[in-house]
């Protein structure tokens, strides 16, 4: 009896052990996977914490302080924000940034779509064309701005030479406050086309050719196909390009720094340029942080609005 019972118990224990072993193995394997997962994302998490999260938090905190680099920050509440609210130049910079964004983003996106559609066709020298359009994107903005500086030169610049050829008067493109901002905007549009074109080009190649074939069979013209197939199918790419472009446009700095230095008479100063001036010319880091927070708020609101308008939450 006892032998039988023991034998049965042993048998039952073996069965339980056998049943447990795979489960424990699965749990162990899951833990290993999770650990490996954490290890894999750790560099990205560390990067995000060190280079993004901490600076963002520090920026928010410092925006409530009087911090002039040379001495420890002192808490001043909302004083920096009140100063910005009453600062005519920062208001002008904000307005200039909005105008710059309003014109550079849609214009460069429109041109980029058209160029991308064109370069998605089977045309000769397609690769060369693609590289040419993308070139401004990979060229240093300062170098580009120097070239435009020459083109805008009132005396020996290319643009005035062309105007002169047609008997039109020369213009002080960067020295006339009525023209300077538009001159900067034109550079922004031109420079922004390359990257947008590349994204659209990638998106275009994901559109099912059968859609166009079916539309053709139904007698849809190329224009109709563009508006009824291409543009709707590019909606996710458009959302991405739009958000990234707005962020990029609000961060415009290099061409202003090189082309106009914010002038004449602050006609081309931008929010980022004012941040730079406050931080590195005036040594007012607290104020510069408050300006950065305002810039961040603008971008956040615009991104949310854009997401709502384009139905981005469906994607």
């Amino acid at each position: 009896m006892s032998m039988t019972t023991k034998s049965l118990e042993t048998t039952a224990g073996d069965v339980r052990d056998r049943a447990r072993r795979p489960a424990r193995g699965r749990r162990s394997s899951g833990r290993k996977l999770r650990r490996a997962g954490w290890l894999m994302v750790m560099p990205a998490v560390a990067h995000t914490i060190v280079w993004i999260a901490i600076p963002v938090v520090a920026t928010f905190v410092l925006s409530f302080t009087d911090y002039e680099v040379f001495s420890a920050p002192s808490f001043i509440g909302l004083d920096n924000y009140v100063e910005l609210w009453n600062d005519d130049i920062f208001r002008k910079a904000t307005w200039n940034t909005v105008v710059y964004t309003f014109f550079t983003v849609p214009f460069s996106m429109a041109v980029a779509v058209v160029v991308a559609v064109f370069l998605n066709q089977k045309i000769r020298f397609r690769a060369a064309f693609r590289a040419t359009f993308f070139l401004p994107q990979v060229t240093a903005t300062v170098a580009i701005a120097m070239v435009w500086l020459w083109m805008y030169n009132p005396q020996y610049g290319l643009i005035n030479a062309v105007l002169s050829f047609f008997g039109l008067p020369s213009q002080a493109w960067l020295d006339d406050p009525d023209l300077a901002l538009w001159s900067v905007i034109l550079v922004g549009i031109w420079q922004g086309i390359g990257m947008k074109m590349l994204i659209y080009l990638a998106a275009l190649q994901n559109i099912d050719p059968n859609l166009y074939e079916a539309a053709s069979l139904d007698g849809a013209s190329s224009v109709r196909q563009f508006f009824s197939i291409t543009l709707p199918m590019l909606k996710p790419a458009t959302f991405f390009v739009f958000v990234v472009s707005i962020i990029g446009a609000f961060q415009v700095f290099d061409q202003v720094y090189v082309l106009t230095d914010g002038g004449p008479a602050n006609a081309t100063t931008m929010m980022t340029y004012e941040v730079y001036r406050a931080a590195f010319q005036d040594f007012r880091m607290g104020l510069a942080c408050a300006q950065s927070v305002v810039l961040f708020a603008f971008l956040l609101v615009l991104t949310v609005i854009n997401r709502r308008l384009t139905g981005g939450d469906d994607q």
Partner: protein, 435 residues
């Protein structure tokens, strides 16, 4: 950042050290004469130098191949890491250096910068090295010494000056029947109007007096100094650059452009590759003393045609800025830093640096140097240094000065009257000074 380190062999090191000690004992070494940075044998350490001069290949070559080796002959136990920058990015360098706690041991900065950095405790007062206002006045003119002082203490030693004054083209003046440059504002206006040329459709071909190739703040300051006005009151508590005299100065400039049309907005700019006086696009204009270098390089035949002159209003107006050497308050090797400062401001090193940039030596004794005698612009500047005035004053000057150009542009472009532009500017400055 270029790093230049001195790593002599031990035998060579001993020889150089012995030689330098012998030289120091026998010669009249400047550092000891002025209290010095201690005995040369005692000075050691690795120090950093932040400099906006010695730029470009030629500048680096001068510093690294000619000057620093001589410094190491005197101080073999010191090594210097050089961080080159430009005045355009010096602010960023200094800000980030202070924020990170890695302030260079020796920093070169401009006139007008000293007050702000000294006020914030970034700079070391130099009297501990025997450098006092009185000792410096033996070698420099009073106002140049003052440019390196703050609150009664000496924080910087001048190396070179950048001066601004007017220059006329003698040949163009002669064509119009003028045999000498204008000697008053009225004559300046008269000459400028007469010398301005436009083509048949009214396009400006030659400016009577060029103001736009130059930094507008400094341009205005020349006229302001000439009007008898000053930037701040005597105790530097209030801006005075909106005084009636200063407003008159800006009105004069504005009228030259908007009423008398002696130059059109956009005709020239600070980005101009060739100064309009050199290519004949201007008959007169404000110039920097290094115009001489430009002429020698691009059109030496014009050298005799350039005539420097002072703009005379209530008094002669001339601007001087410059580069001064300072020592960090937190330097771990202050003696070595002070030794480098003294070396770089010594006659030989300062002369070489000035020659490289076409600048005006700050040391009075260099007036007789061959370089000065052969450079008409530098010679003129040095001979008239008594009339030169500098910008700066309050510790907030670096913040205030950035507001000048937009204000002057607003007046020149007719967006504001000179009075409005300067009143607004003064209000901004006062706010910064009161903060």
């Amino acid at each position: 950042m270029r790093i230049w380190r001195h790593r002599p062999g031990s035998a060579m090191l001993a020889a150089v050290a012995a030689l330098s000690l012998f030289t120091a004992a026998c010669g009249s070494d400047d550092s000891e004469a002025s209290g010095g940075a201690g005995g040369e044998g005692e000075v050691s350490g690795e120090i950093t130098l932040l400099t906006p001069i010695y730029e470009g290949t030629d500048g680096e070559k001068l510093l690294e191949e000619e000057l620093l080796p001589k410094f190491y002959e005197q101080y073999p136990d010191v090594s210097v890491s050089v961080d080159y920058t430009t005045y355009g990015t010096l602010n960023e360098k200094l800000t980030t250096a202070v924020a990170s706690g890695l302030v260079p041991d020796v920093m070169m900065m401009g006139v007008g910068w000293i007050e702000g950095f000294a006020d914030k405790g970034v700079l070391r007062e130099l009297s501990e090295f025997g450098i006092t206002g009185e000792s410096l006045k033996e070698s420099y003119t009073e106002q140049i010494v003052q440019a390196g002082m703050y609150d009664g203490g000496v924080y910087a030693v001048p190396i070179m000056l950048d001066t601004r004054f007017a220059v006329a083209r003698k040949d163009i003046l002669a064509e119009a029947g003028f045999d000498k440059p204008p000697s008053s504002w009225e004559e300046l206006r008269e000459y400028a109007i007469a010398l301005t040329e436009r083509d048949a459709d009214g396009t400006l071909t030659r400016a009577g007096f060029d103001m736009l190739s130059h930094d507008l703040r400094q341009m205005f300051e020349v006229f302001l100094f000439s009007s008898g006005a000053s930037l701040f009151n005597d105790d530097v508590t209030e801006p005075t650059f909106n005084s009636p005299e200063a407003v008159e100065a800006l009105q004069f400039m504005t009228d030259l452009i908007n009423e008398h049309k002696v130059e059109d907005v956009g005709f020239s700019s600070t980005d101009a590759q060739v100064h309009p006086l050199i290519n004949g696009r201007a008959a007169m204009g404000l110039a920097h003393n290094n115009l001489w270098l430009q002429v020698q390089e691009s059109a030496p035949e014009l050298a005799d045609q350039l005539v420097p002159f002072l703009i005379n209003g209530e008094q002669p107006g001339m601007f001087f800025g410059g580069t001064l050497a300072t020592v960090s308050a937190n330097s771990e090797h202050p003696e070595a830093a002070a030794a480098l400062l003294e070396f770089l401001s010594s006659p030989e090193a300062a002369l070489a640096a000035n020659e490289q940039r076409g600048n005006v030596p700050a040391l009075t004794e260099l007036l007789d140097s061959e370089y000065v005698r052969q450079n008409k612009m530098v010679q003129f500047a040095m001979e008239n240094l008594e009339h030169a005035q500098n910008e700066g004053g309050p510790p907030q000057w670096l913040e205030i000065r950035g507001e000048f150009t937009p204000a002057i542009e607003a007046a020149l472009l007719g967006e504001k009257t000179p009075q409005q532009a300067l009143d607004d500017l003064a209000a901004t400055a006062q706010e910064a000074m009161d903060r």
